[in-house]
Subunit: 334 residues, 2 copies
DNA sequence: TTGTAAGCGTTATCAG
DNA sequence: CTGATAACGCTTACAA
């Protein structure tokens, strides 16, 4: 796509009757230019429609200002909200987000990181999937920072931000027991990501500790439809569960809809349901779902604060948030 | 954020024992390199972890490969889905998306376009808001392409993609009348965007043409909560409407929830409801909403196909899609 | 404070 | 097919 060239600093300099370095300095925060020179440069720039070329600037400074967001299933409510928070915070910090969609093929997280390297992104934030260790090492070696959100926790080098999934799951067991429930179930997808599995293990562990058996069912991707299928499976059993913890709100919405419209169950009277994420729909009155709020804004703030930090060698760092339990009417006796 | 320098083509050339131009050619699709040279270069690049610097390449070629996506309220289901489709198509076309969040201040669409210019984006796609005419002219003059999705239709130069909102609204009137409804209402937000207003005018116009009066109510931003408020207003009237067309699905979800849980109305027996967008939630069984499907994938394909086109001076172009009516149970007698 | 000059990593041009 | 050389638009010593 051939483009007519944009206005360059050279042309601005000529029009303003100064050197090109004067122009450069005018647009470099904290550089020393006399008010008079600055005025003439700004005037000429305005008239010509000049804008600093960040490609060239990035080349010189070895700092592009770009931060890659690597995401799959980006249109799901939780992911979309996290992207919103991240772009917001990045822009506040003077950075700009490059969004890479990894829905397509396998190994596409690695491909996405390659793209990040090509554009000399200052950092990459991974919201989905796990990259190969060799490629993360390449990023880190080249001074590119890495942030892993709700990913595996055993990599060294990147900033790892996680939730206390297991502890939260334990709180659900307590809530269910207080509500008088005894036949607990956990509804999970087959995605098998660390955070989903931590919720499952936390729930099962806490229930066992209280001497309660737990039914565990897993099915398909982490979405509404899987929630319906899981309801199909769990609610047709002879001894029907009276409380279900769904690994995410999306699963919970599907589960509740099937429980109500297909099995004619009353929630929370005959069945208590809890979810995780606190997506917007959880607050809709059709669901009014008890769930855990992911602190997306704090996550985004933490991630951005770390990656804009000026340290030469950023200390290996791991952050763990405790999600807030949001009580709503899908569980008895809040 | 000072970074250790990445590996350069120079270093690869030295290790492979060839010139730097040979390296460049190896990574330029369609350039002529002998198999032997290519092999040695690739091997050296692999070993060193070399990746072409797209900042420098963009500088030379005057084509960055970056396309800006300018969006506000990006976490709403419809927008999030459009972003997903756009990133998908852009990546297929060898481009990469830069995502700019314009939630913050007024005039931030202009700021976003400035950012697009600084990064020498090949194109910008505007999903929300309207930029100032002077700034769009600046973009176009500099050879940056512009796509407006569901925006005002009277700008010259950009590709404008719109839906046939008014015609669709007319089809809703027909559907309502067939269902035996006579007291029609339109529930809108106060956003006043061209597409929302076109739906309103189309609905009112078609109803008038059939001799039916229409109640129109507008409130707040285009979201779930506004839908509830609109239900409050329209369902407390003496002569309650028996059919409501909501300007978007999000409004419709809020409206339905209030109608059912607060006013104890049965849908569609006592009230027919239709929406627009066909967001994922519209298909959830709590809503099962009759609505219009925005052809997001076709929109994205059309936009990307146009902006990667090699034409020197892209012809002024306007595309109009006819959304499909998705019949579900919120309107009687589909 | 200002201008000059060198250099960032590429690609395009043009001999060989 | 290959290699030298000249841009691209910018920043940044360095010298004035």
């Amino acid at each position: 796509m051939p483009q007519k060239p944009f206005v360059s600093a050279q042309e601005v300099a000529e029009r303003a009757g100064v050197s090109r370095s004067a122009v450069s300095r005018t647009f470099t925060p904290g550089a020393s230019v006399s008010p008079e020179t600055r005025r003439r440069v700004v005037e000429a720039a305005e008239a010509l429609g000049y804008h600093v070329n960040h490609l060239a600037r990035g080349l010189m400074r070895n700092e592009s200002g770009i931060v890659c967001l690597i995401v799959s299933e980006m249109s799901t409510p939780y992911r979309a909200n996290l992207i919103r928070a991240m772009t917001q915070q990045l822009q506040n910090a003077g950075k700009v987000a490059m969004l890479i969609n990894t829905d397509r093929s396998d190994g596409s997280v690695d491909l996405a990181l390659r793209q990040a390297i090509r554009y000399r992104a200052d950092a990459s934030i991974i919201l989905s999937g796990m990259p190969d260790r060799s490629i993360t090492q390449l990023c880190l070696k080249n001074g590119q920072r890495l942030v892993l959100i709700n990913r595996d926790d055993d990599q060294q080098g990147p900033l790892r931000i996680n939730l206390d999934d297991a502890e939260a799951a334990g709180r659900v067991v307590t809530a269910f027991v207080r509500a008088g429930c005894r036949r607990l179930a956990f509804a999970n997808s087959q995605a098998g990501t660390p955070s989903l599995m931590a919720r499952e293990h936390g729930f099962v562990g806490a229930a066992k500790a209280m001497g309660l058996p737990v039914l565990v069912e897993r099915h398909g991707p982490t979405n509404y439809e899987s929630g319906r299928v899981l309801a199909q499976r769990l609610l047709t059993l002879g001894e029907r569960p009276d409380a279900v913890f769904c690994a995410t709100d999306l699963l919970a919405c599907g589960f509740m809809d099937a429980a109500r419209h297909q099995f004619r169950l009353s929630i929370p009277d005959q069945l208590c349901v809890a979810g995780f994420d606190d997506i917007e729909q959880a607050a809709w009155s059709s669901y009014d779902l008890t769930t855990f709020a992911q602190p997306v804004d704090r996550i985004a703030r933490e991630a951005v604060a770390w990656l804009v930090n000026e340290r030469e060698e950023p200390a290996d760092h791991s952050v763990r948030f405790r999600p807030d339990l949001v009580w709503r009417s899908s569980v008895r006796g809040g």
